[in-house]
């Protein structure tokens, strides 16, 4: 039960944080100019993507 509660809370925090990170990077035209190269986009999206993959792994792997 405790583990399930923390799983859900963790997923919400990680998901919300990742949305915030992506919004910060792409939310304004000024900001989008700074991530104009494909390389920048990959560098910005990689950490949130890794976090979400980890949530997915733990979700299906949990005891």
């Amino acid at each position: 039960m405790l583990r399930d509660v923390f799983m859900v809370v963790a997923a919400i925090l990680v998901g919300g944080g990742c949305v915030a990170v992506v919004a910060l990077e792409f939310g304004s035209s000024e900001q989008r100019r700074l991530v104009s190269r494909p390389r920048d986009v990959v560098e910005v999206l990689l950490p949130p993507a890794l976090a979400l993959v980890l949530v997915w792994i733990v979700w299906f792997d949990r005891i």
């Binding site: 799983m7 963790a10 919400i12 915030a20 900001q31 950490p47 976090a51 733990v58 949990r62």
Partner: protein, 300 residues
């Protein structure tokens, strides 16, 4: 020119054997190694579901110290030009000419090779490979590729500092499992807010050296927003360890309290940007306390 000032610096030019030894030790950045090792032992305890054995712990820490020391030394060789410009780093051994670059590079490479061999002989192959991959990633991906060209330098580059947790886990089990990746992710997502706080304090230094740290690239206000967002992800990731089943109630309580503090502190920092160094120092305490809680939970 900086060179003149450095030659007259009392710390320049080692005069005795003790000074030389001190300069080489300084090259390895012992304080950073200390923090890296803080994360290795709890990972070993969780992997073993108890104390993994004193010899294994000592052998892993020695190997980790050698590899991390090698990585830090080679990093300082590659960054010597930046370190000469920045106030925070200009008293390091290379900018003050206490050691020459060739000797420092050789020293770093020897530490890296000895670290690999030590872990291979005394621990296992996966730990040796992971430790050496971290060194190579830190030097080639972070220092040589990202640091001077990307505002995301510390985000991606921070992966190198997260590997000691994987090394600790692999040292015990010979493989990696989901909890090990959660430990990696905790350090990975802790690193950007931690170093962004430092770079807010030293942003003029970084700007002068041409290093595009986030406060230099997007300004302090946007950086503070990033610190909040990454802190939320960090706390979420710290909670992910609980469903993996390797920790219980004691860790859960500590993670909730520390999580509330770290998110609260990141929000507080938005209104007190001049207190960035306090946040930076508190963030060290956060990571150490979180991993200490894991260790205690794993032992008892």
């Amino acid at each position: 020119m900086n060179g003149k000032a450095e030659i007259t610096d009392p710390r320049s030019r080692p005069t005795g054997r003790g000074d030389v030894v001190r300069a080489y030790v300084e090259l390895t950045k012992p304080r950073i190694i200390e923090l890296l090792l803080t994360t290795t032992v709890p990972a070993m305890i969780l992997a073993a579901d108890g104390w993994p054995g004193t010899w294994l712990v000592i052998a892993t820490l020695i190997g980790g110290t050698l590899s991390a020391g090698g990585a830090n030394t080679i990093n300082q060789v590659a960054d010597a030009d930046i370190d000469r410009v920045m106030k925070r780093t200009r008293s390091r051994p290379l900018p003050t000419d206490r050691i020459n670059s060739r000797n420092a590079l050789l020293f770093g490479a020897v530490l890296g090779v000895v670290g690999f061999l030590w872990l291979l002989v005394t621990v296992n192959l996966p730990a040796a490979i992971l430790s050496t991959l971290a060194l190579l990633f830190y030097v080639f991906v972070y220092t040589l590729f990202l640091k001077r060209s990307s505002a995301q330098n510390i985000v991606i580059g921070g992966a190198a500092g997260a590997v000691p947790a994987l090394v600790g886990w692999a040292a015990v089990t010979g493989s990696l499992a989901p909890p090990a990746w959660v430990l990696f992710a905790i350090i990975f997502f802790w690193t950007p807010p931690h170093f962004w706080a430092l770079s807010i304090r030293y942003r003029e230094d970084y700007a002068a050296a041409g290093v595009p740290m986030l406060p230099v690239a997007v300004g302090v206000g946007r950086t503070l927003d990033h610190i909040v967002a990454y802190s939320v992800v960090l706390v979420g990731v710290s909670f992910l360890l609980i469903p993996t089943g390797v920790v219980g109630l004691p860790y859960s309580i500590v993670a909730v309290i520390l999580g509330a503090v770290v998110i609260g502190a990141s929000v507080w920092l938005r209104r007190h940007e001049d207190q960035a160094i306090r946040y930076f120092l508190a963030s060290n305490v956060y990571l150490a306390a979180l991993f200490a809680a894991m260790a205690v939970d794993g032992l008892f």
